[in-house]
Amino acid sequence: MAQAPVVRLRSLSKHFGTVHAVDRVDLDLYPGEVHALLGENGAGKSTLMCMLAGLYRPDAGHLEVHGKPVSFHSPRDAMAASIGMVHQHFMLVPTLTVWENVLLGGGLPPLLRPKRAAAQVQEAAQRLGLRVDARAQVGDLGVGEQQRVEILRVLMRGVRIMILDEPTAVLSPGESEALFATIRTLCEQNCTIVLISHKLEEVRRAARRITVMRRGRSVATFDDPMESTARELAAAMVGEEVSLELHRGEPVPGDVLLEVRQLEVRSDRGLPAVRRIDLQLRAGEILGLAGVAGNGQVELMEAIAGLRPVEGGDLKLCGQSATRLSSRQRAELGLRFIPEDRTHTGTAPSLSVLENMVLRRYRGRGPWLRLDALRSRCQQQIEQLQIATSGPEQAARLLSGGNLQKVILARELDPDQARVILALHPTRGLDARATAQIRQLLLDARRTDPARGGHPARPAAILLWSEDLEELLALSDRLAVINAGRIVHTVRHGEADLPTVGRWMTGSSTEPEAARAD
């Protein structure tokens, strides 16, 4: 590169306890480049960037911006140096509107003129190709929309070096394209983008340079991503050749376990979210729901789980009418739910790993709690799933996202209990190894497999929504495409490819966002 780097990181280190989260990492960022940080979960990518964004203070090493050494005490300092970060976990105030969130902490004038401010935010959003409703309340938005608000907020604060932490995790292919188009526009204006990701293909396409991190160290930098193969990148990432292959097995569809007829459900804002959906789900199959976030997937799942009122239609669970059953009664019939929100719905954060692991089977005889009897079982699952924890007594809130998800899965996929499993983003944000492990768990849960414990396990039926289309295509025995609360297509495994499904998802009437953003 002929130009001088805008940011230089030299020998940066950060420790958490005995863990070397980031260990003497050097990194140069040049103006106008998209630099990808590739690595598995826990490789230290986010930690490294949090130091650049002023969230963590380095234990050692130093940073330079425009050739001048800097030390950030807060994100505000970093922001003043035009460095901003969009986090995986959103930092939005759910009770405020989009425009309030965007202007909060920097852009708010002393005298608020709500109409004008909202219009200003709306206009900026359109200019940047980010589809958001500036007047909507953030708590009502889906994850994909919330992320666009985050990006908008950072951009409107004059950030020139933007760090995106796993930005496409919550986006549909069309939205991802729009995001990359936005990124390209920004780069043309000499902005620098750091893309934290573990998606090989995406990184190869979008990045100009790639730095691969593994266990806190920077292990390789690829100056020309298109020249390097996915295999090379994967090897650098994992450090060894690992089998990420899935064993689908031959599923044998059994009885209908879940039947949904003419179901109608409303969103939090009271708008129709699910419009007369019909579904049939058999034991031994995974039905994938393909759709852009906010098209009724969450509402559909919640309504089936009994966590959201049904406006119309019927539900049958294991042959029994379930429309009027409480969520607990449905759970007793074998309904299990892997929720979108791991930290406050899927787990109780201050309770221990053990207590969270047994949330579906803590009832002993009569009114008495049984925890001690389940401790060894919990210990066993911790080892089996390689959950990184100091032990069953550790508070769940101190687990990383991936390990927390393993706790939830261990509980919800329990072959003794689970008959119908609703899974929302089961592998979001997890590293390659954990993802492969969890996908295999899902595939196995629908099989009569001697590997699943000693008993003749009953095959479960799984309804899956994931924003990762490749994952959906790989796992689903059948795929239903959902758009605006309706199922618009249903295909069998292998009958449709990714671009086709992507087109169905956005609906033939809507042009992909990319076209407009360009």
């Binding site: 050692a60 130093h62 007594e393």
Partner: protein, 368 residues
């Protein structure tokens, strides 16, 4: 060398005990310092307080136990609500309502010649229902309409006080004095001094059956919160209502029931106080037990046996207050204990860690 804070991965029971005990010790030291600054001999003052309460022989201990009883019951009530993160700070009002209902049963609504066991059980039940419903108002408001229970429970204390005044000064007043007629003997909780004729050593020991009731409920609450499914679900609910709903708990109903039980325990404290100590309803019979109980439950870190210990500590400060001048010293100590307990929370969440500086630890400065 640099000191860092690291989150604790797990908190042992022992650490919890040490922290709470440490908080009390630090509070006494700080209190002593304040006394010394005010020109009082701190050692003499503390000695006066504790020799008049915990360590002053049978009479002192008996007096302290009498004060500890309502604190224990109210503290248990607070504990239940706090475990579900329902901040019932109105135990005082629930206690007053309990005392009112017990008085109604004893002196006005039932024939006075009922056998004592029946009379006492009915008084206790009436008190628990009254206290429970009083707290239940806040519970229902919170569960179904999202009304903040801190505010509603606190405000209901003042309403309870005014309501009681109406009866004490008006409807139930004895000859216009601010007290009701003395209960019939059947409505008196047995005291140790009742047997003084046979065992002269017991004369003057006013400790009554209430402490036994308190211990019984202490055990019951322990069973409930530590060993039962219900208690576990209470913790899930308190920690994350969304997780509770997700595993299928009827969240609103649980909130309401928890507040009902919480208030029932405080109401029982009111019955125990009027039936065991004053034997009538009178103005200002409670020195704010319901408020002190909040501190007791917190000091105990929501452990029932801890509430027992905390009740005795705060009872000692209440009894000791009469022995030292000015009486505010004891109040001041209560406040300082509260502060150190809250501060101690920090030590339960974090631990200090000595981190050696890296070779290039101050790289920013080195380079400039």
């Amino acid at each position: 060398m640099r000191i860092e804070l690291r989150p604790r991965l797990r908190v042992s029971t022992r650490l919890t005990l040490v922290t709470s005990a440490g908080a009390v010790v630090v509070a006494l030291l700080l209190g002593g310092l304040l006394l010394w600054a005010a020109g009082v001999d701190p050692i003499a003052a503390l000695r006066a307080i504790f020799s008049a309460s915990l360590f002053g022989g049978a009479y002192a201990l008996s007096d302290t136990t009498v004060k500890a009883t309502p604190l224990l019951l109210c503290g248990l009530g607070c504990l239940l609500a706090f475990r579900a993160r329902l901040w019932n700070v109105g135990a005082e009002g629930q206690l007053l309502l309990g005392a009112w209902a017990a008085t109604g049963v004893a002196s006005f609504w039932l024939p006075p010649d009922l056998p004592a066991p029946i009379m006492l059980v009915l008084m206790a039940l009436a008190a628990m229902v009254a206290g429970g419903l009083w707290a239940g108002i806040c519970g229902a408001l919170r569960a179904f309409w999202g009304v903040n229970e801190i505010i509603s429970s606190l405000m209901l204390v003042y309403i309870a006080q005014k309501l009681l005044n109406y009866f004490i000064f008006g409807a139930w007043s004895e000859g216009g004095f601010p007290l009701t007629p003395v209960f019939p003997q059947s409505a008196w909780l047995p005291r140790l001094s009742d047997w003084a004729q046979r065992f002269p050593a017991l004369s003057g020991l006013t400790v009554h059956l209430g402490i036994v009731i308190g211990l019984l409920f202490c055990f019951l609450v322990w069973l409930l919160v530590q060993r039962s499914v219900w208690g576990f679900e209470l913790r899930v609910l308190g920690d994350s209502p969304r997780a509770a709903r997700y595993i299928g708990l009827p969240v609103e109903r649980r909130m309401l029931v928890t507040m009902l039980l919480s208030g029932a325990l405080a109401g029982l404290a009111g019955m125990v106080e009027v039936a065991g100590v004053v034997h009538r309803l009178q103005d200002r019979f409670s020195p704010g037990y319901g408020f002190v109980a909040i501190a007791v439950a917190w000091l105990a870190r929501l452990n029932p046996w801890g509430v027992l210990l905390g009740a005795f500590l705060f009872a000692a400060l209440l009894v000791g207050a009469k022995e030292v001048q000015p009486g505010g010293i004891s109040m001041m100590l209560q406040g300082v204990v509260m502060l150190t307990v809250v501060a101690g929370d920090f030590l339960l969440r974090y631990r200090f860690h000595r981190a050696p500086l890296q070779e290039a630890g101050s790289g920013q400065e080195l380079d400039s």
